[in-house]
Symmetry: C2
Subunit: 306 residues, 2 copies
Protein backbone atom coordinates (compact mmCIF):
# COMPACT_ATOMS: atom_id res chain seq x y z
CA UNK A 1 0.00 0.00 0.00
CA UNK A 2 1.20 3.53 -0.74
CA UNK A 3 2.30 5.42 2.36
CA UNK A 4 2.35 9.12 3.20
CA UNK A 5 5.17 11.32 4.46
CA UNK A 6 3.72 14.09 6.60
CA UNK A 7 5.81 17.04 7.77
CA UNK A 8 4.26 19.50 10.19
CA UNK A 9 3.77 20.75 13.70
CA UNK A 10 3.20 18.70 16.84
CA UNK A 11 2.17 21.04 19.61
CA UNK A 12 0.62 21.65 22.99
CA UNK A 13 -2.76 23.40 22.79
CA UNK A 14 -4.78 25.23 25.39
CA UNK A 15 -8.32 25.55 24.06
CA UNK A 16 -10.94 27.73 25.72
CA UNK A 17 -14.56 27.32 24.66
CA UNK A 18 -17.54 28.88 26.46
CA UNK A 19 -18.39 25.45 27.87
CA UNK A 20 -14.96 24.10 28.82
CA UNK A 21 -11.25 24.77 28.80
CA UNK A 22 -8.58 22.13 28.25
CA UNK A 23 -4.91 22.88 28.91
CA UNK A 24 -1.75 21.75 27.15
CA UNK A 25 -3.49 18.94 25.25
CA UNK A 26 -1.97 17.16 22.25
CA UNK A 27 -2.33 19.37 19.18
CA UNK A 28 -0.56 20.47 16.01
CA UNK A 29 -1.44 19.95 12.36
CA UNK A 30 0.70 16.84 11.97
CA UNK A 31 -0.90 15.15 14.98
CA UNK A 32 -4.42 15.55 13.60
CA UNK A 33 -3.31 14.76 10.06
CA UNK A 34 -1.42 11.59 10.87
CA UNK A 35 -4.08 10.13 13.17
CA UNK A 36 -6.73 10.84 10.55
CA UNK A 37 -4.73 9.50 7.60
CA UNK A 38 -3.59 6.40 9.52
CA UNK A 39 -7.07 4.89 9.12
CA UNK A 40 -6.45 4.70 5.38
CA UNK A 41 -2.68 4.28 4.85
CA UNK A 42 0.65 4.17 6.74
CA UNK A 43 2.02 7.60 7.68
CA UNK A 44 5.65 8.58 8.30
CA UNK A 45 5.65 11.60 10.54
CA UNK A 46 8.39 14.28 10.42
CA UNK A 47 8.45 16.91 13.13
CA UNK A 48 9.94 18.19 16.33
CA UNK A 49 8.84 18.25 19.95
CA UNK A 50 10.43 20.05 22.91
CA UNK A 51 12.01 18.75 26.08
CA UNK A 52 8.74 19.41 27.93
CA UNK A 53 6.65 17.29 25.58
CA UNK A 54 4.90 14.57 27.60
CA UNK A 55 6.24 11.13 26.53
CA UNK A 56 2.68 9.86 26.76
CA UNK A 57 1.63 12.28 24.03
CA UNK A 58 4.33 11.09 21.65
CA UNK A 59 3.36 7.53 22.46
CA UNK A 60 -0.20 8.30 21.32
CA UNK A 61 1.25 8.98 17.88
CA UNK A 62 4.17 6.53 17.70
CA UNK A 63 2.16 3.74 19.33
CA UNK A 64 -0.56 4.05 16.74
CA UNK A 65 -0.82 1.27 14.18
CA UNK A 66 -0.06 2.96 10.88
CA UNK A 67 2.05 5.81 12.23
CA UNK A 68 5.85 5.74 12.06
CA UNK A 69 7.00 8.54 14.37
CA UNK A 70 10.71 7.72 14.18
CA UNK A 71 11.16 10.93 12.17
CA UNK A 72 10.05 13.06 15.11
CA UNK A 73 13.10 14.66 16.74
CA UNK A 74 13.29 15.97 20.30
CA UNK A 75 14.73 19.41 20.89
CA UNK A 76 16.22 20.88 24.06
CA UNK A 77 13.94 23.87 23.71
CA UNK A 78 10.32 24.03 24.73
CA UNK A 79 7.49 22.56 22.64
CA UNK A 80 5.34 24.74 20.41
CA UNK A 81 2.45 26.08 22.45
CA UNK A 82 -0.80 27.67 21.33
CA UNK A 83 -3.54 29.15 23.48
CA UNK A 84 -6.84 29.84 21.71
CA UNK A 85 -10.33 30.96 22.72
CA UNK A 86 -13.56 30.41 20.83
CA UNK A 87 -16.74 32.45 21.09
CA UNK A 88 -20.13 30.89 21.65
CA UNK A 89 -20.68 30.20 17.94
CA UNK A 90 -17.29 28.39 17.82
CA UNK A 91 -16.65 30.35 14.60
CA UNK A 92 -14.52 33.18 15.93
CA UNK A 93 -11.11 32.18 17.25
CA UNK A 94 -8.91 34.45 19.31
CA UNK A 95 -5.22 33.53 19.61
CA UNK A 96 -4.08 34.30 23.16
CA UNK A 97 -0.58 32.90 22.80
CA UNK A 98 1.39 31.52 19.89
CA UNK A 99 4.84 30.26 20.90
CA UNK A 100 6.74 28.45 18.17
CA UNK A 101 9.61 27.59 20.57
CA UNK A 102 11.56 24.60 19.14
CA UNK A 103 9.58 24.84 15.89
CA UNK A 104 11.20 28.22 15.10
CA UNK A 105 14.68 26.76 14.55
CA UNK A 106 13.61 23.34 13.25
CA UNK A 107 14.60 22.58 9.68
CA UNK A 108 12.88 19.45 8.45
CA UNK A 109 15.05 16.71 7.00
CA UNK A 110 13.63 13.79 5.08
CA UNK A 111 15.49 10.64 6.17
CA UNK A 112 17.13 8.87 3.21
CA UNK A 113 15.13 5.69 3.79
CA UNK A 114 11.92 7.69 3.31
CA UNK A 115 13.30 9.51 0.29
CA UNK A 116 13.39 6.25 -1.64
CA UNK A 117 9.88 5.04 -1.05
CA UNK A 118 7.12 5.77 -3.51
CA UNK A 119 4.92 7.60 -1.04
CA UNK A 120 2.71 10.68 -1.13
CA UNK A 121 4.00 13.85 0.52
CA UNK A 122 1.94 16.15 2.72
CA UNK A 123 3.35 19.47 3.82
CA UNK A 124 1.33 20.91 6.69
CA UNK A 125 1.56 24.61 7.52
CA UNK A 126 5.13 25.77 8.05
CA UNK A 127 7.58 28.37 6.73
CA UNK A 128 7.18 28.22 2.92
CA UNK A 129 10.98 28.01 2.52
CA UNK A 130 10.93 24.84 4.62
CA UNK A 131 8.13 23.39 2.52
CA UNK A 132 10.25 24.10 -0.57
CA UNK A 133 13.28 22.47 1.04
CA UNK A 134 11.34 19.27 1.75
CA UNK A 135 9.95 19.33 -1.77
CA UNK A 136 13.50 19.43 -3.11
CA UNK A 137 14.61 16.59 -0.83
CA UNK A 138 11.66 14.34 -1.26
CA UNK A 139 9.40 15.41 -4.10
CA UNK A 140 11.02 13.47 -6.93
CA UNK A 141 8.00 12.24 -8.76
CA UNK A 142 5.79 12.12 -5.70
CA UNK A 143 2.26 13.44 -5.47
CA UNK A 144 2.71 16.45 -3.15
CA UNK A 145 -0.03 18.37 -1.33
CA UNK A 146 0.36 21.41 0.93
CA UNK A 147 -1.51 23.57 3.40
CA UNK A 148 -0.68 27.07 4.67
CA UNK A 149 -2.15 29.84 6.84
CA UNK A 150 -2.97 33.50 6.40
CA UNK A 151 0.20 34.53 8.25
CA UNK A 152 2.42 33.24 5.43
CA UNK A 153 0.12 34.69 2.77
CA UNK A 154 0.50 38.08 4.42
CA UNK A 155 4.18 37.91 5.33
CA UNK A 156 5.92 35.49 3.00
CA UNK A 157 3.94 35.43 -0.20
CA UNK A 158 6.90 35.26 -2.61
CA UNK A 159 8.29 32.05 -1.11
CA UNK A 160 4.77 30.76 -0.68
CA UNK A 161 4.01 31.16 -4.38
CA UNK A 162 7.13 29.16 -5.24
CA UNK A 163 5.88 26.36 -3.01
CA UNK A 164 2.37 26.57 -4.42
CA UNK A 165 3.73 26.31 -7.96
CA UNK A 166 5.72 23.17 -7.03
CA UNK A 167 2.94 21.05 -5.49
CA UNK A 168 0.21 18.95 -7.09
CA UNK A 169 -2.52 19.85 -4.65
CA UNK A 170 -3.34 22.47 -2.05
CA UNK A 171 -5.79 22.57 0.85
CA UNK A 172 -6.95 26.00 2.09
CA UNK A 173 -9.85 27.45 4.00
CA UNK A 174 -12.11 30.00 2.34
CA UNK A 175 -10.47 33.07 3.89
CA UNK A 176 -6.99 31.84 2.89
CA UNK A 177 -8.14 31.11 -0.66
CA UNK A 178 -9.55 34.64 -0.96
CA UNK A 179 -6.35 36.17 0.45
CA UNK A 180 -3.98 34.17 -1.74
CA UNK A 181 -5.96 34.89 -4.90
CA UNK A 182 -6.99 38.45 -4.02
CA UNK A 183 -10.44 37.49 -5.23
CA UNK A 184 -13.73 37.60 -3.31
CA UNK A 185 -15.71 35.02 -5.30
CA UNK A 186 -14.49 31.58 -4.17
CA UNK A 187 -14.89 30.01 -7.61
CA UNK A 188 -12.79 32.72 -9.22
CA UNK A 189 -10.36 32.39 -6.31
CA UNK A 190 -10.05 28.67 -6.98
CA UNK A 191 -9.47 29.22 -10.67
CA UNK A 192 -6.72 31.74 -9.92
CA UNK A 193 -4.97 29.44 -7.44
CA UNK A 194 -4.95 26.54 -9.89
CA UNK A 195 -3.42 28.95 -12.42
CA UNK A 196 -0.48 29.26 -9.96
CA UNK A 197 0.41 25.62 -10.56
CA UNK A 198 -1.40 22.94 -8.54
CA UNK A 199 -3.58 20.42 -10.32
CA UNK A 200 -6.19 20.36 -7.60
CA UNK A 201 -7.41 22.57 -4.78
CA UNK A 202 -9.70 21.82 -1.85
CA UNK A 203 -11.32 24.87 -0.24
CA UNK A 204 -12.67 24.14 3.25
CA UNK A 205 -15.67 26.18 4.41
CA UNK A 206 -16.21 24.63 7.87
CA UNK A 207 -19.88 23.91 8.56
CA UNK A 208 -20.64 24.92 4.96
CA UNK A 209 -18.65 22.07 3.45
CA UNK A 210 -15.93 22.27 0.84
CA UNK A 211 -15.18 22.75 -2.84
CA UNK A 212 -12.91 20.61 -5.01
CA UNK A 213 -11.32 22.27 -8.05
CA UNK A 214 -9.91 19.87 -10.64
CA UNK A 215 -9.54 19.86 -14.41
CA UNK A 216 -11.46 23.10 -14.92
CA UNK A 217 -14.51 21.97 -12.94
CA UNK A 218 -15.81 22.59 -9.39
CA UNK A 219 -17.35 19.95 -7.14
CA UNK A 220 -19.17 21.13 -4.00
CA UNK A 221 -19.35 18.94 -0.88
CA UNK A 222 -21.69 19.73 2.03
CA UNK A 223 -20.37 19.24 5.54
CA UNK A 224 -21.55 16.22 7.48
CA UNK A 225 -24.54 17.48 9.52
CA UNK A 226 -23.52 17.67 13.20
CA UNK A 227 -25.81 18.58 16.07
CA UNK A 228 -22.95 19.15 18.49
CA UNK A 229 -19.56 20.64 17.83
CA UNK A 230 -17.15 20.68 20.77
CA UNK A 231 -13.93 22.21 19.38
CA UNK A 232 -13.18 23.11 15.74
CA UNK A 233 -9.40 22.86 16.29
CA UNK A 234 -7.80 20.35 13.92
CA UNK A 235 -10.80 20.02 11.61
CA UNK A 236 -8.83 21.17 8.57
CA UNK A 237 -5.84 18.95 9.33
CA UNK A 238 -8.06 15.93 9.90
CA UNK A 239 -9.84 16.80 6.65
CA UNK A 240 -6.48 16.77 4.83
CA UNK A 241 -5.65 13.46 6.53
CA UNK A 242 -8.78 11.84 5.16
CA UNK A 243 -8.10 13.28 1.71
CA UNK A 244 -4.49 12.12 1.50
CA UNK A 245 -5.22 8.86 3.30
CA UNK A 246 -7.80 7.85 0.74
CA UNK A 247 -5.57 8.90 -2.19
CA UNK A 248 -2.76 6.77 -0.76
CA UNK A 249 -5.12 3.84 -0.27
CA UNK A 250 -6.12 4.16 -3.92
CA UNK A 251 -2.41 4.32 -4.84
CA UNK A 252 -2.82 7.68 -6.50
CA UNK A 253 0.28 9.06 -8.17
CA UNK A 254 1.08 12.14 -10.24
CA UNK A 255 0.37 10.07 -13.34
CA UNK A 256 -2.70 8.40 -11.92
CA UNK A 257 -4.73 11.14 -10.25
CA UNK A 258 -8.32 10.26 -11.07
CA UNK A 259 -11.38 12.46 -10.57
CA UNK A 260 -13.36 9.60 -9.06
CA UNK A 261 -10.66 8.96 -6.44
CA UNK A 262 -10.34 12.67 -5.64
CA UNK A 263 -14.08 13.00 -5.12
CA UNK A 264 -14.26 9.99 -2.83
CA UNK A 265 -11.18 11.36 -1.04
CA UNK A 266 -13.05 14.65 -0.46
CA UNK A 267 -15.93 12.69 1.05
CA UNK A 268 -13.49 10.84 3.36
CA UNK A 269 -11.97 14.21 4.23
CA UNK A 270 -15.43 15.54 5.12
CA UNK A 271 -16.05 12.56 7.37
CA UNK A 272 -12.69 12.82 9.17
CA UNK A 273 -13.11 16.57 9.72
CA UNK A 274 -16.54 15.94 11.21
CA UNK A 275 -15.15 13.46 13.73
CA UNK A 276 -12.31 15.76 14.77
CA UNK A 277 -14.63 18.52 16.01
CA UNK A 278 -16.69 16.21 18.20
CA UNK A 279 -14.18 16.36 21.05
CA UNK A 280 -11.14 18.31 22.23
CA UNK A 281 -7.66 17.57 20.88
CA UNK A 282 -7.37 14.29 18.96
CA UNK A 283 -9.64 12.45 21.42
CA UNK A 284 -12.35 11.63 18.89
CA UNK A 285 -9.86 10.46 16.26
CA UNK A 286 -8.45 8.11 18.88
CA UNK A 287 -11.81 6.68 19.89
CA UNK A 288 -13.33 5.96 16.46
CA UNK A 289 -12.93 2.74 14.52
CA UNK A 290 -12.71 2.01 10.81
CA UNK A 291 -16.31 0.89 11.09
CA UNK A 292 -17.42 4.29 12.41
CA UNK A 293 -15.75 5.92 9.41
CA UNK A 294 -17.42 3.61 6.91
CA UNK A 295 -20.77 4.16 8.59
CA UNK A 296 -20.47 7.95 8.49
CA UNK A 297 -19.21 7.87 4.90
CA UNK A 298 -22.28 5.87 3.91
CA UNK A 299 -24.55 8.24 5.84
CA UNK A 300 -22.98 11.24 4.11
CA UNK A 301 -23.37 9.62 0.72
CA UNK A 302 -27.04 8.80 1.28
CA UNK A 303 -27.75 12.27 2.66
CA UNK A 304 -26.11 13.98 -0.32
CA UNK A 305 -26.97 11.76 -3.31
CA UNK A 306 -30.63 12.45 -3.89
CA UNK B 1 -51.41 18.38 -13.64
CA UNK B 2 -51.57 19.75 -10.10
CA UNK B 3 -51.50 23.53 -9.98
CA UNK B 4 -50.27 25.96 -7.33
CA UNK B 5 -52.05 28.89 -5.66
CA UNK B 6 -49.47 31.51 -4.73
CA UNK B 7 -50.34 34.49 -2.53
CA UNK B 8 -47.72 37.16 -2.02
CA UNK B 9 -46.27 40.53 -2.91
CA UNK B 10 -45.83 42.02 -6.36
CA UNK B 11 -43.67 45.10 -6.04
CA UNK B 12 -41.45 47.73 -7.57
CA UNK B 13 -37.79 47.36 -6.58
CA UNK B 14 -34.89 49.75 -6.77
CA UNK B 15 -31.71 47.71 -6.41
CA UNK B 16 -28.31 49.32 -5.91
CA UNK B 17 -25.22 47.13 -6.32
CA UNK B 18 -21.66 48.46 -6.47
CA UNK B 19 -21.63 47.81 -10.23
CA UNK B 20 -25.09 49.01 -11.27
CA UNK B 21 -28.39 50.41 -10.05
CA UNK B 22 -31.78 49.55 -11.51
CA UNK B 23 -34.86 51.57 -10.58
CA UNK B 24 -38.46 50.51 -10.07
CA UNK B 25 -38.03 47.11 -11.71
CA UNK B 26 -40.50 44.25 -11.38
CA UNK B 27 -40.03 42.61 -7.97
CA UNK B 28 -41.90 41.00 -5.10
CA UNK B 29 -41.86 37.46 -3.76
CA UNK B 30 -44.88 36.34 -5.77
CA UNK B 31 -43.37 37.59 -9.05
CA UNK B 32 -40.19 35.56 -8.58
CA UNK B 33 -42.06 32.57 -7.19
CA UNK B 34 -44.66 32.35 -9.95
CA UNK B 35 -42.22 32.80 -12.82
CA UNK B 36 -39.96 30.15 -11.30
CA UNK B 37 -42.76 27.67 -10.53
CA UNK B 38 -44.44 28.17 -13.93
CA UNK B 39 -41.69 26.10 -15.58
CA UNK B 40 -42.98 23.08 -13.66
CA UNK B 41 -46.74 23.58 -13.09
CA UNK B 42 -49.57 26.10 -13.59
CA UNK B 43 -49.66 28.90 -11.01
CA UNK B 44 -52.67 30.96 -9.89
CA UNK B 45 -51.36 34.24 -8.55
CA UNK B 46 -53.13 36.20 -5.79
CA UNK B 47 -51.92 39.68 -5.00
CA UNK B 48 -52.37 43.41 -5.36
CA UNK B 49 -50.69 46.12 -7.40
CA UNK B 50 -51.13 49.87 -7.19
CA UNK B 51 -52.48 52.40 -9.66
CA UNK B 52 -48.91 53.26 -10.66
CA UNK B 53 -47.98 49.69 -11.54
CA UNK B 54 -46.82 49.59 -15.17
CA UNK B 55 -49.28 47.50 -17.23
CA UNK B 56 -46.31 46.03 -19.04
CA UNK B 57 -45.03 44.55 -15.76
CA UNK B 58 -48.35 42.85 -15.05
CA UNK B 59 -48.38 41.58 -18.61
CA UNK B 60 -45.00 39.92 -17.98
CA UNK B 61 -46.75 37.79 -15.34
CA UNK B 62 -50.27 37.40 -16.78
CA UNK B 63 -48.95 36.86 -20.32
CA UNK B 64 -46.73 34.03 -19.17
CA UNK B 65 -47.79 30.53 -20.17
CA UNK B 66 -48.55 28.77 -16.91
CA UNK B 67 -49.44 31.87 -14.87
CA UNK B 68 -53.04 32.84 -14.18
CA UNK B 69 -52.88 36.41 -12.87
CA UNK B 70 -56.62 37.01 -12.81
CA UNK B 71 -56.42 36.95 -9.02
CA UNK B 72 -54.23 40.05 -8.97
CA UNK B 73 -56.33 43.07 -7.98
CA UNK B 74 -55.50 46.69 -8.71
CA UNK B 75 -55.70 49.21 -5.91
CA UNK B 76 -56.10 52.97 -6.09
CA UNK B 77 -53.13 53.39 -3.82
CA UNK B 78 -49.51 53.22 -4.85
CA UNK B 79 -47.67 49.94 -5.46
CA UNK B 80 -45.39 48.43 -2.84
CA UNK B 81 -41.92 49.88 -3.29
CA UNK B 82 -38.59 48.70 -1.92
CA UNK B 83 -35.19 50.35 -2.27
CA UNK B 84 -32.19 48.18 -1.35
CA UNK B 85 -28.42 48.49 -1.54
CA UNK B 86 -25.87 45.68 -1.57
CA UNK B 87 -22.25 45.88 -0.56
CA UNK B 88 -19.44 44.61 -2.73
CA UNK B 89 -19.77 41.03 -1.44
CA UNK B 90 -23.52 41.11 -2.31
CA UNK B 91 -24.08 39.51 1.11
CA UNK B 92 -25.00 42.58 3.15
CA UNK B 93 -28.26 44.25 2.20
CA UNK B 94 -29.30 47.70 3.40
CA UNK B 95 -32.97 48.63 3.11
CA UNK B 96 -33.19 52.30 2.11
CA UNK B 97 -36.96 52.41 1.71
CA UNK B 98 -39.73 49.94 2.43
CA UNK B 99 -43.16 51.24 1.43
CA UNK B 100 -45.96 48.70 1.67
CA UNK B 101 -48.50 51.17 0.19
CA UNK B 102 -51.47 49.20 -1.22
CA UNK B 103 -50.11 46.00 0.35
CA UNK B 104 -50.75 47.40 3.85
CA UNK B 105 -54.53 47.32 3.51
CA UNK B 106 -54.80 44.33 1.17
CA UNK B 107 -56.59 41.32 2.59
CA UNK B 108 -56.10 38.31 0.35
CA UNK B 109 -59.25 36.51 -0.82
CA UNK B 110 -59.11 33.12 -2.48
CA UNK B 111 -61.64 33.10 -5.36
CA UNK B 112 -64.21 30.32 -4.99
CA UNK B 113 -63.21 28.72 -8.27
CA UNK B 114 -59.65 28.27 -6.91
CA UNK B 115 -60.93 27.03 -3.59
CA UNK B 116 -62.34 23.94 -5.29
CA UNK B 117 -59.30 22.83 -7.21
CA UNK B 118 -56.92 20.27 -5.78
CA UNK B 119 -53.87 22.51 -5.92
CA UNK B 120 -50.89 23.20 -3.68
CA UNK B 121 -50.86 26.42 -1.69
CA UNK B 122 -47.84 28.70 -1.29
CA UNK B 123 -47.98 31.59 1.16
CA UNK B 124 -45.16 34.02 0.49
CA UNK B 125 -44.11 36.49 3.18
CA UNK B 126 -47.03 38.57 4.47
CA UNK B 127 -48.75 39.42 7.76
CA UNK B 128 -49.09 36.04 9.56
CA UNK B 129 -52.78 36.77 10.26
CA UNK B 130 -53.32 37.03 6.50
CA UNK B 131 -51.50 33.76 5.92
CA UNK B 132 -53.80 32.16 8.50
CA UNK B 133 -56.86 33.67 6.81
CA UNK B 134 -55.88 32.20 3.45
CA UNK B 135 -55.18 28.87 5.10
CA UNK B 136 -58.72 28.88 6.50
CA UNK B 137 -60.20 29.80 3.13
CA UNK B 138 -58.18 27.51 0.98
CA UNK B 139 -56.25 24.95 2.95
CA UNK B 140 -58.84 22.17 3.13
CA UNK B 141 -56.70 19.16 2.51
CA UNK B 142 -54.15 21.00 0.43
CA UNK B 143 -50.40 20.72 0.82
CA UNK B 144 -49.50 24.19 2.19
CA UNK B 145 -46.04 25.76 2.35
CA UNK B 146 -45.09 29.17 3.77
CA UNK B 147 -42.26 31.66 3.94
CA UNK B 148 -41.76 34.58 6.34
CA UNK B 149 -39.17 37.23 7.26
CA UNK B 150 -37.38 38.30 10.40
CA UNK B 151 -39.73 41.30 10.82
CA UNK B 152 -42.67 39.02 11.61
CA UNK B 153 -40.54 36.76 13.82
CA UNK B 154 -39.60 39.84 15.86
CA UNK B 155 -42.94 41.63 15.87
CA UNK B 156 -45.70 39.10 15.38
CA UNK B 157 -44.41 35.79 16.65
CA UNK B 158 -47.65 34.61 18.29
CA UNK B 159 -49.67 34.80 15.07
CA UNK B 160 -46.69 33.48 13.16
CA UNK B 161 -46.48 30.37 15.31
CA UNK B 162 -50.16 29.66 14.62
CA UNK B 163 -49.45 29.84 10.91
CA UNK B 164 -46.35 27.69 11.23
CA UNK B 165 -48.31 25.05 13.09
CA UNK B 166 -50.95 24.98 10.34
CA UNK B 167 -48.72 24.42 7.28
CA UNK B 168 -47.07 21.30 5.90
CA UNK B 169 -43.83 22.92 4.89
CA UNK B 170 -41.81 26.06 5.57
CA UNK B 171 -38.99 27.77 3.73
CA UNK B 172 -36.65 30.04 5.72
CA UNK B 173 -33.17 31.43 5.43
CA UNK B 174 -30.56 30.54 8.04
CA UNK B 175 -30.91 33.75 10.06
CA UNK B 176 -34.71 33.41 10.17
CA UNK B 177 -34.47 29.76 11.23
CA UNK B 178 -32.13 30.72 14.07
CA UNK B 179 -34.44 33.57 15.17
CA UNK B 180 -37.62 31.55 15.05
CA UNK B 181 -36.11 28.63 16.97
CA UNK B 182 -33.91 30.70 19.33
CA UNK B 183 -31.17 28.20 18.55
CA UNK B 184 -27.73 28.87 17.06
CA UNK B 185 -26.98 25.42 15.63
CA UNK B 186 -28.97 25.12 12.38
CA UNK B 187 -29.66 21.41 12.81
CA UNK B 188 -31.10 21.97 16.27
CA UNK B 189 -32.98 24.99 14.88
CA UNK B 190 -34.52 22.81 12.18
CA UNK B 191 -35.53 20.14 14.67
CA UNK B 192 -37.23 22.78 16.86
CA UNK B 193 -39.12 24.30 13.93
CA UNK B 194 -40.44 20.92 12.83
CA UNK B 195 -41.59 20.40 16.41
CA UNK B 196 -43.82 23.48 15.89
CA UNK B 197 -45.85 21.57 13.32
CA UNK B 198 -44.62 21.47 9.71
CA UNK B 199 -43.65 18.15 8.16
CA UNK B 200 -40.73 19.59 6.25
CA UNK B 201 -38.44 22.60 6.40
CA UNK B 202 -36.01 24.00 3.85
CA UNK B 203 -33.30 26.27 5.25
CA UNK B 204 -31.65 28.42 2.59
CA UNK B 205 -28.01 29.41 3.15
CA UNK B 206 -27.37 31.42 -0.04
CA UNK B 207 -24.04 30.56 -1.62
CA UNK B 208 -23.64 27.78 0.98
CA UNK B 209 -26.62 25.82 -0.26
CA UNK B 210 -29.57 24.56 1.74
CA UNK B 211 -30.77 21.94 4.20
CA UNK B 212 -33.90 19.82 3.95
CA UNK B 213 -35.42 18.53 7.19
CA UNK B 214 -37.91 15.70 6.80
CA UNK B 215 -38.93 12.67 8.85
CA UNK B 216 -36.23 13.18 11.48
CA UNK B 217 -33.37 13.39 8.97
CA UNK B 218 -31.35 16.22 7.40
CA UNK B 219 -30.31 16.41 3.75
CA UNK B 220 -27.71 19.03 2.78
CA UNK B 221 -27.66 20.55 -0.73
CA UNK B 222 -24.73 22.63 -1.98
CA UNK B 223 -25.50 25.73 -4.01
CA UNK B 224 -24.97 25.59 -7.76
CA UNK B 225 -21.44 26.97 -8.28
CA UNK B 226 -21.72 30.44 -9.88
CA UNK B 227 -18.79 32.56 -11.03
CA UNK B 228 -20.89 35.71 -11.33
CA UNK B 229 -23.74 36.86 -9.15
CA UNK B 230 -25.47 40.08 -10.26
CA UNK B 231 -28.27 40.57 -7.71
CA UNK B 232 -29.32 38.19 -4.92
CA UNK B 233 -32.86 39.67 -4.76
CA UNK B 234 -35.51 37.03 -5.34
CA UNK B 235 -33.21 34.04 -4.92
CA UNK B 236 -35.23 32.64 -2.02
CA UNK B 237 -38.58 33.15 -3.75
CA UNK B 238 -37.30 31.55 -6.95
CA UNK B 239 -35.93 28.70 -4.82
CA UNK B 240 -39.39 28.20 -3.31
CA UNK B 241 -40.88 28.34 -6.83
CA UNK B 242 -38.67 25.50 -8.00
CA UNK B 243 -39.46 23.49 -4.86
CA UNK B 244 -43.25 23.87 -5.10
CA UNK B 245 -43.25 23.64 -8.89
CA UNK B 246 -41.56 20.26 -8.83
CA UNK B 247 -43.83 18.98 -6.03
CA UNK B 248 -46.87 20.04 -8.09
CA UNK B 249 -45.44 18.38 -11.17
CA UNK B 250 -45.06 15.17 -9.16
CA UNK B 251 -48.64 15.60 -7.92
CA UNK B 252 -47.53 15.66 -4.32
CA UNK B 253 -50.32 15.85 -1.76
CA UNK B 254 -50.50 15.78 2.01
CA UNK B 255 -50.99 12.04 1.81
CA UNK B 256 -48.37 11.52 -0.85
CA UNK B 257 -45.35 13.54 0.23
CA UNK B 258 -42.39 11.38 -0.70
CA UNK B 259 -38.77 11.89 0.35
CA UNK B 260 -37.51 11.21 -3.17
CA UNK B 261 -39.78 13.93 -4.62
CA UNK B 262 -38.82 16.40 -1.88
CA UNK B 263 -35.13 15.85 -2.52
CA UNK B 264 -35.48 16.32 -6.27
CA UNK B 265 -37.63 19.38 -5.55
CA UNK B 266 -34.78 20.82 -3.43
CA UNK B 267 -32.42 20.30 -6.36
CA UNK B 268 -34.88 22.10 -8.69
CA UNK B 269 -35.13 24.85 -6.07
CA UNK B 270 -31.32 25.16 -6.02
CA UNK B 271 -31.25 25.47 -9.81
CA UNK B 272 -34.03 28.11 -9.95
CA UNK B 273 -32.40 30.18 -7.19
CA UNK B 274 -29.12 30.09 -9.09
CA UNK B 275 -30.73 31.47 -12.25
CA UNK B 276 -32.53 34.24 -10.38
CA UNK B 277 -29.30 35.85 -9.13
CA UNK B 278 -27.68 35.99 -12.55
CA UNK B 279 -29.50 39.19 -13.51
CA UNK B 280 -31.55 41.99 -11.97
CA UNK B 281 -35.26 41.58 -11.28
CA UNK B 282 -36.87 38.55 -12.96
CA UNK B 283 -34.88 39.06 -16.17
CA UNK B 284 -33.02 35.76 -15.99
CA UNK B 285 -36.15 33.77 -15.15
CA UNK B 286 -37.74 35.31 -18.25
CA UNK B 287 -34.86 34.46 -20.54
CA UNK B 288 -34.23 30.82 -19.61
CA UNK B 289 -35.92 27.81 -21.20
CA UNK B 290 -37.00 24.45 -19.81
CA UNK B 291 -33.90 23.07 -21.52
CA UNK B 292 -31.61 25.42 -19.58
CA UNK B 293 -33.20 24.19 -16.35
CA UNK B 294 -32.75 20.52 -17.24
CA UNK B 295 -29.15 21.17 -18.26
CA UNK B 296 -28.32 22.92 -15.00
CA UNK B 297 -30.13 20.29 -12.95
CA UNK B 298 -28.03 17.60 -14.61
CA UNK B 299 -24.86 19.63 -14.04
CA UNK B 300 -25.73 20.04 -10.36
CA UNK B 301 -26.43 16.35 -9.99
CA UNK B 302 -23.14 15.33 -11.62
CA UNK B 303 -21.18 17.87 -9.56
CA UNK B 304 -22.72 16.68 -6.30
CA UNK B 305 -23.09 12.90 -6.71
CA UNK B 306 -19.56 11.64 -6.45
Amino acid sequence: MTSIICAGSIALDTIRTPLRTVERVLGGAASFFSLSASFFAPVSLLGVVGSDFPPGYLQRLSGRKGIDASGVVRSREKSPFFDMSFDHSLHTRTVNASELNCLASYVPEVPKRLGQKNSLLYLATMLPAHQLRILKQAAKNRLCVMDTISYYIENDVEDLKKTVSAVDGIVLNDAEARMLSQEGNLLKAGRKILAMGPRFLAIKKGEHGSLLFFNGAVYPFPAFPLYDVVDPTGAGDSFAGGLMGFLAKKQATRERLRLKDLRMAMACATVMGSFAVEDFSVARLESITARDITKRYDELESAVHW
